[in-house]
Symmetry: C2
Subunit: 204 residues, 2 copies
DNA sequence: TAATAATTTGACCAACTGGTCAAAGCCACG
DNA sequence: CGTGGCTTTGACCAGTTGGTCAAATTATTA
């Protein structure tokens, strides 16, 4: 039998692991991996630094755990697009899902943005593999819709990019958006605008 | 007479200051302020660290100099929108300018993105001041166009956000875009897609 | 070319970095 | 309640960080 280390499912383990991941999300999403320090994460989590490292092997392990969890949530909405549904409604629903994620999980969005801006050193493979395959599949679906005359002809890749860009903008550039809008809630108008834009582009 | 320090306009000064700013742009745009080190900047610039600090007081001074220069270039395209021009063409031309900046100055775009994502600690005032005023002015112009029936009714703020989001996406998320497109040049299709989207939204 | 000013550097510093470790504290269960 | 394992911590470490400084080197110019 190999040494398994401490039990992994105790009450305290669960609580502290969750606290560390939450704190890590806060810190890493603001400063990126290199700009973050274990001391910051520890303080945010309310634990001592050695105690952090009792639950996670290293700074890298915390970051990697966060990224792994994030990538699942990130790819899922794409998979929910239904080739047999109404094209415009499917794409609108997808945009809505992404916009909701920006509204309710802005730190996750910024964590992802930081990782990409810095060259995606840890998730480049996923981007070039799983993500690319998924997008290729959706592109086929969208092209099919266009060929059937159900939506206008559009470049499916740039269509997807534009949805990503517009929805994530509200999370990643939150500070700028709020600086300009003042007290107005960004998400009030965002959904309506995005819908108008997509309908204008797609409706034959 | 106050001591003025060394002459500021010599050949060597010009060359080395330019090299430092160029290196700083490279490093800061990839890692953000906190994630960057003077050693990295120095190596990139081909100078020793103490020599860097002969030309700039501090790490902060390099970063601030870059941001100041950037903000000018950033606000200028907005000012070029002509209220007396053709509405759709003016907005398309603005989008084109922004897209060109993403194509030719991606590091500037990422430097800006990093600063915003991290909460805009140094340019928050500019965002809430100069930028907001500028956008407010453009919003009046766009509302005027809509009231005159020359374009569809749109929320001018979200329209501007969507242009920013889509154009900057190609610089900030460059790695992801290229991961998905493979060898295809992103900017080939981007302009056409953006134009189609804006025409669909704006054309009455 | 001599001397004055501009530039560059090696040695150094205190604070901070990610990470280790043995010892102490705490908790659940017999 | 006590004991064995889970949890926490203070002290510590080597490498890195932004930054300083006097001395050495190189350019400029009288």
């Amino acid at each position: 039998m190999t040494k398994l280390g401490p039990k992994l499912d105790t009450r305290i383990q669960k609580k502290n692991r969750a606290a560390i991941l939450s704190a890590g999300l806060m810190v890493f999403s603001q400063f990126g991996f290199r700009g973050s320090t274990l001391d910051l994460v520890a303080e945010e989590a309310g634990l001592s630094k050695p105690n952090l490292l009792y639950y996670f092997r290293s700074k890298d392990a915390i970051y990697t755990a966060l990224l792994a969890k994030l990538l699942e949530d990130w790819l899922e909405p794409l998979r929910e697009i239904n080739a047999d549904g109404d094209p415009v409604e499917e794409l609108l629903a997808y945009s809505k899902r992404k916009l909701d994620m920006s509204q309710h999980y802005p730190r996750e969005s910024r964590l992802f943005a930081n990782e990409i801006i810095q060259g995606a050193p840890r998730i480049g493979d996923v981007l070039r593999g799983e993500l690319r395959e998924l997008v290729d599949e959706i592109a086929v679906v969208i092209n099919g819709w266009a060929a059937a005359g159900r939506i206008n002809k559009v470049d499916p890749y740039h269509l997807i990019f534009s949805i990503w860009a517009q929805t994530q903008h509200y999370a990643d550039f939150d500070v700028q958006v709020r600086a300009i809008l003042g007290k107005t809630d960004p998400f009030d108008g965002a959904e309506h605008h995005l819908e108008a834009m997509l309908r204008g582009l797609l409706t034959p």
